[in-house]
């Protein structure tokens, strides 16, 4: 009996519903299909296409975090949400920082090489 009651108590803390999974599924299905179609039919080109599919991917990730992983729905204090935003910060520093440094390095080394070549 004790086991049964505490199971009930735990189940109350879990947030999924059929509705949330269906919304998540339909939205993800549509977003994936849109980005796939945009790329395969060349409906958009260049930077517009790149930014559009990145936007669609971010939207889909946020929707899945909300509807599948239930981020931000736990009781206060929201440790999971806090840890999540800390991770996003670390992620932005790692990815943004790496790309910034490496592209900058690439530009500098490449322009020096072109200069050195033109001196010859």
């Amino acid at each position: 009996m004790h086991d049964h009651l505490s199971l009930k108590a735990i189940q109350k803390e879990w947030h999924g519903t059929v509705k949330s999974y269906l919304i998540g599924f339909i939205a993800s299905f549509l977003l994936t299909t849109i980005s796939f179609t945009l790329v395969s039919t060349h409906a958009l080109t260049g930077h517009t296409l790149v930014y559009t599919i990145i936007g669609l991917a971010l939207t889909q990730a946020i929707l899945q975090l909300l509807f599948f992983l239930h981020v931000g729905q736990e009781p206060k204090p929201r440790w999971e949400t806090i840890v999540f935003f800390f991770m996003v910060m670390v992620l932005l520093i790692i990815v943004g920082g790496s790309l910034w440094i490496m592209n900058d390095l690439n530009d500098r080394v490449m322009s020096e090489m072109t200069e050195a070549m033109s001196h010859d």
């Binding site: 199971l7 879990w14 993800s28 790329v39 790149v50 991917a57 990730a61 599948f68």
Partner: protein, 208 residues
């Protein structure tokens, strides 16, 4: 029992008919596993950054545009999305305490996950057999590192799913199996979120 109550300050007004050490275990386990998932995210971020830096360094070998099949990647994405939803359905069955439904939904999830891995391994063997393995160029090294790490996670997830399904089969829905199902479902949904970015940054942007 004393192990559970070390950090527990008893409330004098608490309802003693419901001593509930398992509930504490549930919260700490889920939070701890969530923290692991977040560090795993950072791990994947490092691979994504590596891939973004190296994806043009083909060393005279084939580029992503010549190698990747967009339709295969699209099918893989849809399979993984469906498996994420069927895993959620298993969780909803666990909420209602329906043992057979949990096992059925997890079986569907397992089959979808296994077919995802089959497609990915097929793609990998095709690349290796045509001489484009991870030793070919920095681009392919970073590609195999990123997508292979995700595939490794899915494979471990399949093994884990099998173990959890067996536990549900033998023990039914208890405090322990429910907690394990919750933790496993977090892992499985998380892998789908990571795949969205692999599909977009590796496959879609690779063929533009």
């Amino acid at each position: 029992m004393t192990d559970f109550t070390i950090h527990h300050t008893p409330d004098p007004q608490a309802d003693t008919s419901l001593p509930d050490p398992n509930q504490d275990t549930f919260f700490t386990t889920v939070l701890g596993f969530w923290m692991y998932l977040m560090t795993d995210c950072v791990f994947f971020a490092a691979f994504f950054a590596t891939y973004a830096v190296l994806h043009n360094n083909t060393f005279g070998g084939p580029s992503s545009r010549e190698l990747f099949s967009l339709s295969t990647a699209f099918i893989e994405t849809m399979i993984l999305l469906c498996s994420s939803v069927t895993c959620g359905m298993a969780m909803l069955a666990a909420l209602r305490g329906k043992k057979n439904q949990i096992i059925a939904w997890l079986a569907v999830t397992f089959l979808l996950g296994a077919s995802f891995m089959a497609l990915e391994l097929h793609e990998f063997t095709h690349l290796v057999e045509s001489g484009n393995s991870w030793t070919r160029s920095a681009f392919l090294s970073s590609f195999f590192a990123l997508v292979g790490t995700h595939g490794l996670h899915v494979s471990i997830g399949l093994l884990w799913m099998f173990v959890v399904t067996m536990q549900v089969f033998y023990w039914g829905v208890t405090v322990d199996t429910f907690r394990r199902l919750v933790v496993f479902s977090l892992f499985w949904h998380f892998l789908d979120v990571v795949w969205i970015f692999i599909f977009t940054f590796v496959y879609l942007m690779g063929v533009i």
